[in-house]
Amino acid sequence: VKASAGRGERWAAFALLACGVLGWSFLQHRVADSDAALAARRTQLEQLRVLVAVPNGSAGALDAVVGLLDGRPLRWSERDGIGYLLPEARP
């Protein structure tokens, strides 16, 4: 770096770089949080698929997915002896 660069110029450069790094770090943390939430949502989606594939009517198994799919409650229902999951309207 040229020795003649002024003190103010150097501080401005440092501030710019610091802003860039801090901003990038902030975004990275937000992305990591979002990915963690996404992973949980995907896990529950997989659990829901298992429930749909093999309906067993277990309320405990249903608790694992309730509230995370767009906030819609799900409940077991039955018609002519066939069990199925019924998505209801948002409370």
Binding site: V1, W24, R41, L45, D70, G81, P87, E88, A89
Partner: protein
């Protein structure tokens, strides 16, 4: 030229003489990296959002299809939670279209089933004999849970000796059983395409014994649709069996009139002293009997994997370690010969309420089968949907 090259080579040095441009470049790089990361995260979130939307649409369509049923053909509109589902009930197919919040439309189709499958298909292995269940694993089932054939379909089904995909083989038994067999022996003749042809009703009858053999030790066959093969004799598995879908293979090993099923305790392939009859009355018919299944034969692989659904009316004889990769039923017992053991693999059981197999009596009321998505929700916009999508000629699988 020399001067120009020198100016190009020294350009980075000149740019670095002032810290501000370097700092700006660094900040832009950080910004770009952040934008790329956020864009990737948004993409991942959108993927999951679409998958969730598709799953919820499937649940809504399923609930609507079951609520409407198949008794009243025509178009019905049902509200399920926050979703509105259009249900079109046809003679053979139920089609559902779900309108989602973001203006997309998910479409599903299901075949109309005449009823449910017997409960025994809902287990990896089922038998009315507790000793057989103790040997294989699975559950003990009662007579009401066991399947029965539709006699009219079986009577009208093509015979294997006149249907491509099977052929008579007079020598196959002589190579593996001392003295061979008395009745006709058949083998699977996989066409060059690797896919067995399936008759319209999905049923083929083997008038004799069926042998599963392969020079490689693994018999692979493809099926576009489900196929029921009724074996009016014994089934001899001298090779592993792999069925490549989407169709499934159900082997029903029956005891035809005039033949006798027995437990071949000495494993010699014919009724002899010490063998146990499985029905009252004297032994009748061919010496090798009928209705029995033999896993493991001379010349076959040391271990077997069996990938077809199986209903054995007679005894299961196991002479080699065998793993069942599809639901099976042994209506009689299990005879283990030598080191032969049989166990259930990680097979998927059938959803007996919503699944169908050809040639079997069903129970309960007619119903829609399992819904299958016709297209991802995002792939079919609301406007401009060709209406014939709703009326698939045949149910997809």
């Amino acid at each position: 030229v020399k001067s120009l090259v020198w100016r190009v080579l020294t350009a980075p040095r000149r740019w670095c003489e002032s810290p501000l441009p370097v700092a700006v470049l660094g900040m832009v790089a950080c910004l770009l990296a952040g934008v790329v990361q956020v864009a990737a995260a948004l993409g991942r979130a959108e993927t999951v959002r679409r998958e969730v939307a598709a799953e919820l649409a499937g649940l809504a369509a399923n609930a609507a299809a079951l609520e409407v049923g198949v008794a009243q053909p025509g178009r019905h509109t049902v509200a399920v939670g926050e979703q509105v589902v259009d249900v079109e009930v046809g003679e053979r197919v139920v089609a559902c279209a779900v309108r989602t919040r973001d203006g997309e439309r998910a479409r599903f189709v299901a075949p109309v089933l005449s009823g449910a499958l017997p409960a025994a298909f809902g287990h990896r292995f089922a038998s009315p004999d507790p000793a057989a269940v103790a040997a294989v694993g699975g559950v003990v089932v009662g007579p009401d849970d066991l399947p029965t054939l539709v006699p009219e379909l079986v009577a009208a089904a093509p015979r294997a000796d006149r249907w491509a995909g099977f052929r008579r083989d007079p020598g196959v038994a002589l190579m593996r059983l001392e003295g061979g067999t008395e009745r006709d022996d058949h083998v699977v003749a996989v066409p060059e395409s690797g896919t067995l042809p399936v008759p319209a009703a999905g049923v083929v009858v083997v008038p004799g014994h069926l042998w599963l053999t392969s020079p490689t030790g693994v018999l692979r066959l493809g099926l576009e649709r489900d196929l029921l093969v009724v074996v009016e004799g014994n089934l001899y598995a001298a090779a592993s069996l792999v069925v490549e879908g989407p169709g499934r293979l159900l082997l029903w090993v029956a005891v035809p009139a005039g033949q006798t099923a027995f437990a071949d305790r000495d494993g010699n392939g014919r009724f002899s002293a010490g063998d146990r009859l499985l029905a009252a009355g004297p032994f009748a018919g061919a010496l090798e009997g009928a209705g029995g299944v033999y896993f493991g034969l001379p010349g076959g692989p040391p271990e077997l994997a069996f990938g077809a659904l199986l209903v054995a009316v007679g005894e299961l004889h196991v002479a080699a370690p065998t793993t069942l990769h599809a639901p099976a039923m042994g209506l009689s017992g299990v005879t283990e010969l030598g080191s032969g053991r049989i166990r259930c693999g990680e097979s998927e059981v059938l959803d007996v309420q919503r699944d169908a197999l050809p040639g079997l009596q069903t129970r309960g009321l007619p119903r829609p089968g399992r819904l299958l998505p016709m297209a991802p929700p995002s792939a079919v916009p609301v406007a401009g949907v060709p209406e014939d999508l709703l009326y698939a000629g045949t149910p997809g699988r």
